[in-house]
Amino acid sequence: MKSPDYFEFFSQAKIMSGNKAMANIPVELDGFDARKPLVITTREVTRAGLGKKLVKALYDSNVVIGAIFDEVPHHAGISQVRDLVKLFRDRGCDSVIALGGGAAADVAKCVNIMVSEKTDDLLQFIGENRITRHLKPFIYIATAYSTGYEVANNATIEGRVIKSDFLFPDVICIDKSMVAVKNSDMVLEGAMVAFAQAVEAADMPNDNPVVDAYAHAAIRFIYQNLRKGIRSPGDKKTGMALANAAAMGAVAFSNSPQGIVHLVSKALASVTGLSESFCKVVLLPYSIELKLSKKEPFRGDLLLAMAGFETFATTPEKDRPHVALGLIRQLLAEGGKYPRTLKDVKVAKYRLDEAAKAAVEAGGTRVKLKECMTLLEHAWEGKTIL
């Protein structure tokens, strides 16, 4: 690792992870002088009984739950946010808890912006760094329905993005009783999103030792636990490791510029209607090949993070990226029936062009059209770039 000439890093979040982590929420709230949170979540979470678990965890404390709102739809709108702002104010709440699920976190963040900035106009904050002050205490509780985007420093509402360092949760709570995922496809998708985020963050040309630290921990956990997670979904230990990885990956991702995988996946998702996570999983290995094919200096650290000191130290330096790529492919192969090319999910080839253009538009100078096309075409066909 060489030392960078310049870097910045920020993460507001305190990670509390482990057995009975939720029981510590009252102490954390008290540290902020807050005692009445508004809980925002989705129906699937409460239906799985996770809402009740939260209520029970807050027994024997001075924390009164202002309300548990569990009707956040998949694509929430500003009207929902307004309703919740009203609920927040009516009940005299002083903090926000988001319980699992991407949509719940987005809505919770928006509610927090409006109640903290004391305004009814959310649109003025769309864009980067428009928020002017510290928001109310915001706790995010990871559940089996988390996608890994929730703890990042942005919120998406009606397709528009608000980005600000104030949007980091103050506390990320990963409780052992909340994270066990029942379905192995969900395990794979969730883990691979975190993996893609971490790999991209760790592999930026400008070194950032703190981002690397977060990313490496994420990569290692995923590599060590994904196989078991797919084989026996519902296992609490692997569930915890993967949930931790998701949080770390998202923090690393928030602190690094968006890479080609992120930009292209986002564009592809909006063009084709596939899920962004799925696109990331498919594109990740090809993006590494693309990098190798350009003979760009590739950071061997990826192998170190995945395979550990022993393998890394005994692999000759020039082979390290290829070995790492091999390991990633092997890992993806464990996904079994999970589709691995864009062709498999019946993406029409002519849409690739559209997606590539959208990615370039969003990414500006960071990506080139030709590279996006190479990436997409190979991922469609499923043939290696090298």
Binding site: N24, S61, N62, V63, V64, A67, I68, L87, D90
Partner: protein, 179 residues
């Protein structure tokens, strides 16, 4: 949106857990008092504490409490479960009931609990160190070796803690505890 669908939720009490912790703390408090009278190293440890020493171990935010202090004659006393009116010099607060249960059902030993940040210590640190050492000692005295071994980092060797002393202290502590 009908806000009546989303009522306010007041925290309830986990009564059984609370009673369990209360009992453990009661026994523990009396054991402190007993051990301070009969065991050599407990005596030494307490001798180092100042005259106004008063220690409160509690579960946040609403108890139960265990208060141990020195009386006017400098004797170590278990002073009950009500912190009101007492001048506490050292707090050891367990962050919540669940953590207390983990600790007092021996799922997490005191050193693991410390490492996991389950306790908040407020007060003089050297005194708190003394208390933690005393807690390890009490564990050795009160519980069978098999159980204690799980909790402490190092079970005292013969050279440090002879079986004769262990058993005399253990017996005397138990007698005082019950009587």
């Amino acid at each position: 949106m009908n806000i009546n669908n989303y009522p306010e939720i007041q925290p309830k009490t986990k009564l059984i857990k609370k009673i369990y912790v209360w009992i453990i703390l009661f026994v523990f408090g009396r054991a402190f008092e007993a051990a301070a009278k009969v065991d050599k190293s407990a005596k030494e440890e307490f001798a180092k504490m100042p005259a106004d020493f008063c220690f409160d171990m509690c579960v946040l935010p609403n108890g139960p409490h265990m208060i141990i202090g020195k009386d006017e004659k400098g004797k170590v006393r278990y002073m009950g479960w009500n912190p009101r009116g007492k001048k506490i010099t050292l707090w050891m607060k367990i962050k919540n009931m669940e953590s207390a249960i983990l600790m007092f059902t021996f799922q997490e030993s005191s050193c693991v609990a410390t490492a996991r940040d389950r306790l908040i210590v407020d007060g003089d640190i050297p005194q708190a160190c003394g208390i933690l050492r005393l807690m390890n000692l009490l564990e050795t005295l009160l519980l069978p070796k098999l159980v204690t071994k799980l909790g402490v980092k190092r079970y005292p060797k013969w050279s440090q803690f002879s079986p004769v002393r262990k058993w005399t202290s253990r017996l005397l502590t138990y007698i005082r505890l019950v009587a």
